[in-house]
Amino acid sequence: MLRATLTLLAALACLAGGARAQSATEEEVKAAFLYKFPAFVEWPERPPAAFVIAVADAEDVASELARLSEGRDILGRRVMVKPLRKGESAAGAQVLFVGRESARLAELARSVAGTPVLVVSESPGALDQGSLVNFVLLEGRVRFEVALDSAERNGLRISPRLLALATRVRASRR
């Protein structure tokens, strides 16, 4: 009985928090996910100085991410959000996010293939273009699909907790 009451109280308090976040925009939630993902990935090495998240063709997400990560760190490293200009490569970044309006997803993903970069996208069919994690909207919620084969190719291991939330997981080649 006590346990049930405590669970209920905890749930109510959580809902108060949930209600606050209720009005979040898609970009804000995606930015928050981008900030969260690295903690659920096993990296071959820790980045030397800053943890770099490169963002291509998604200004809103980039600006939300910059606001959100200000004064915070990822894996003990300062966060750097780097908007990618036309023709600029994603080399040196740990996470690369490519917006849905971008025409250079395949090209960017190819350029970092085989190196430890978590490529995240938000376009239908993006996993086939080399993306590792692709945001989808499901019943108004931001979810994602994961390509384990591409992750393996880039030397990254994705945590089961992250996979549990995926709407679809493309199996690894092994």
Binding site: A10, A13, E26, D60, E101, A103
Partner: protein
């Protein structure tokens, strides 16, 4: 215990939010992955598509917009949509509401739904606004689509669709009490939401009373009355299955001296969503709805509706995203005219409506998508109707979206047009139904641009051209007056709106609609219908403006203005109305607000004939809202 520990941890993270209340984005970083994946982001339509990239003219009224407007009913909240013309009318149907013209007190080309349940009556194919009320605090958003939506929503979604969507039960937890009073309106409501094993529920009750308005002569319009509504909603499930069960019951009475009007009704709806392997989804929904309407000595109507539909979204197949489904509706309608001046034949009718649809969204390029869809819908009066649409959208640049659409929609015949005869026994020399009456047809061409160049600025503009064919007319035959389809028309115009957040605490919004209509009757036909019954009584344009300010942490000031051009027939002068609301958050769990409507004039008419139309008065409304969280 593990469960509790997890909940407590999640909770500690969530409770970190208030400390960062003025920086919500940073607050999101403190949520867990699971919490993030549960946040509902603004989205529209059956498909999961961000508003920016929806190839249709859609305006979304948010819960925050409704709260800050001080609206006490759905029609009042609909005044927030710049693509709708909303006018108070004499009959306690209360409102004439339409998009893109064809408006009158029995406006019949706009489909209205609450949580997927149609509230559009097959009696006259319009909405009885006098029988619709709900707890506005529990409304998540109202999506207002101007233009045809028949491929998705079926016949009658000709000029537009209104989707009222209530919050999930999990988002309305705890207790809420609201009460308000003013010179035109009194209302009171409560809601309580609690947790279930793997979900949540809420129950609510609300009563709303409206005082009678006055005519220009100063006499009472006798249109006052009250409506009491109660209901519940429960959502539960997990592991890819989601269930919703919800229901409402209401009863209403209106003065309408000398006759009076008594209404009652109830509904129960169940919905099941399943996520399929590979990214597909299945939704099955069924509901039962009954309405009982007694316009003392004028009309009684008892309508029972059963509706079931299923939608299957296939897993993405290469560039294709296919959705298909179908629905069955059976309505049992018992209408009669007690005084014996006219009769519905048959007076008990079984109305059927079945449909199948398929839609394919094709990613032609990463930035261009084409949607092709078609629905075939049968009804008991006409041959099956084809309702196709083609929509193309191009993301010109990040934050900029250009779209175009071509569609065909129909308004199916109703009881009123097919089954009304007078006198009560043959020969029917006055009304003789509409033996050859068929659907009114609309062919629509639209092009629109939507943009959100920065997170503070967004705007949308749509140009539309509508060809109307087989419009309803009534002609005199030796056998009496019958309904025919002897008119056609054209409407074209522009709808545009935008909003600009000047400062973090100050937002401005504005909207404008302008349109031109023409109607012509076939040569040699003498039409008996008045112009407003033929094609609506519409202003050629209207403008809305809104300013929303946060004056410090606990005070908010909203000012809304609208200007509506003159209506041609019956003639109604142009008017400008100014409304304002001041809200004060006394404590985290207590709010007081003062709403003033019609500040600039003591009263103005919005619709109808001078002798019978109500003057919309100046009003004051004070309300209190208490919550437990």
């Amino acid at each position: 215990m593990k469960h509790f520990a997890r909940a407590a941890l999640a909770c500690a993270a969530a409770l970190a939010c208030p400390a960062r209340a003025n920086d919500q984005v940073a607050g999101l970083a403190d949520l867990t992955l699971e919490q993030l994946s549960n946040i509902v982001v603004s989205s529209v339509s059956r498909h999961e598509q961000p508003l920016l990239r929806t190839p249709a003219s859609v305006y979304v009224i948010t819960a925050e917009d409704i709260r800050r407007s001080g609206a006490t009913s759905i029609p009042e909240a609909l005044r927030l949509a710049p693509n709708l013309h909303v006018a108070r009318v004499a009959d306690p149907t209360q409102y004439a509401i339409s998009a893109r013209g064809a408006n009158n007190a029995a406006a019949n080309k706009l489909l209205t739904m609450i949580d997927g349940r149609t509230i559009y009556t097959p009696f006259f194919s319009g909405t009885w606004w006098d029988a619709q009320d709900l707890m506005l605090e529990d409304v998540d958003r109202i999506e207002v689509i101007s233009g045809p939506g028949s491929t998705e929503w079926g016949a009658n979604a000709v000029n537009g669709v209104i989707n009222v969507i209530t919050k999930r039960a999990a988002d309305t937890q705890g207790a809420l009490i609201s009460a308000g009073a003013g010179n035109t309106t009194q209302s009171g409501g409560f809601r309580y939401g609690g947790a279930l094993e793997d979900g949540a529920y809420r129950v609510y009750g609300k009563t709303l009373r409206r005082e009678s308005t006055r005519l220009a002569s100063g006499a009472s319009s006798h249109d006052g009355g009250d409506i009491t509504t109660s209901g519940f909603r429960a959502d539960w499930g997990g592991h890819g299955d989601g269930f919703t069960l919800q229901g409402d019951a209401y009863s209403a009475g209106y003065d309408l001296t000398p006759q009076g009007r008594n209404l009652s009704g109830a509904n129960l709806l169940a919905r099941w969503n399943r996520r399929l392997d590979g990214g597909g989804a299945l939704q099955v929904q069924a509901y039962y709805d009954y309405t009982d309407r007694d316009h003392v000595s004028l009309l009684t109507d008892r309508l029972d509706t059963f509706d079931i539909e299923a939608i299957h979204t296939l897993a993405p197949l290469g560039r294709h995203r296919v959705q298909w489904g179908g629905g069955i509706r059976r309505s049992h309608d018992d209408s009669s005219i007690p005084v014996g001046t006219a009769v519905f034949l048959p007076n008990v009718a079984l109305l059927t409506r079945n449909n199948v649809f398929v839609q394919d969204e094709i990613a032609l390029r990463p930035d261009v998508s084409l949607t092709l869809g078609a629905k075939v819908e049968s009804n008991n009066y006409t041959k099956p109707e084809g309702l196709p649409t083609a929509r193309i959208g191009w993301a010109v640049a990040p934050g900029h979206f250009l779209w175009a659409a071509a569609s065909r929609a129909v308004r199916a015949p109703t009881r009123l047009e097919k089954d009304l005869y007078a006198p009560v026994n043959p020969p029917f020399t006055i009304f003789a139904g509409g033996p050859n009456y068929r659907s009114e047809v609309s062919k629509d061409y639209e092009i629109g641009y939507r943009s959100q160049p920065t997170s503070a600025l967004s705007y949308s503009a749509t140009l539309f051209y509508q060809r109307l064919e087989s419009l309803r007319t009534q002609v005199l035959t030796p056998a009496g007056a019958v309904f025919t389809n002897d008119a056609q028309g054209r409407t074209h115009g522009i709808e545009a709106w935008g909003s600009w957040r000047l400062r973090p605490w100050w937002q401005l919004s504005a909207g404008i609609t302008h349109m031109t209509k023409s109607v012509s009757i076939n040569p040699g036909v003498v039409n008996l219908l008045t112009p407003d019954a033929l094609s609506g009584n519409d202003p050629n344009g209207w403008v809305t403006f809104r300013s929303s300010m946060d004056l410090g942490a606990n005070l908010e000031l909203d000012v809304m203005a609208r200007h509506v051009n003159a209506l041609p027939s019956p003639s109604v002068p142009a008017y400008t109305a100014l409304d304002a609301r001041l809200g004060w958050k006394v404590r985290r769990d207590a709010q007081i607000s003062l709403t003033l409507q019609n500040l600039t004039d003591p009263g103005h008419p919005e619709f109808g004939l001078p002798a019978t139309r109500p003057e919309v008065p100046r009003s004051v409304f004070v309300s209190v809202r208490l919550t437990t969280n």
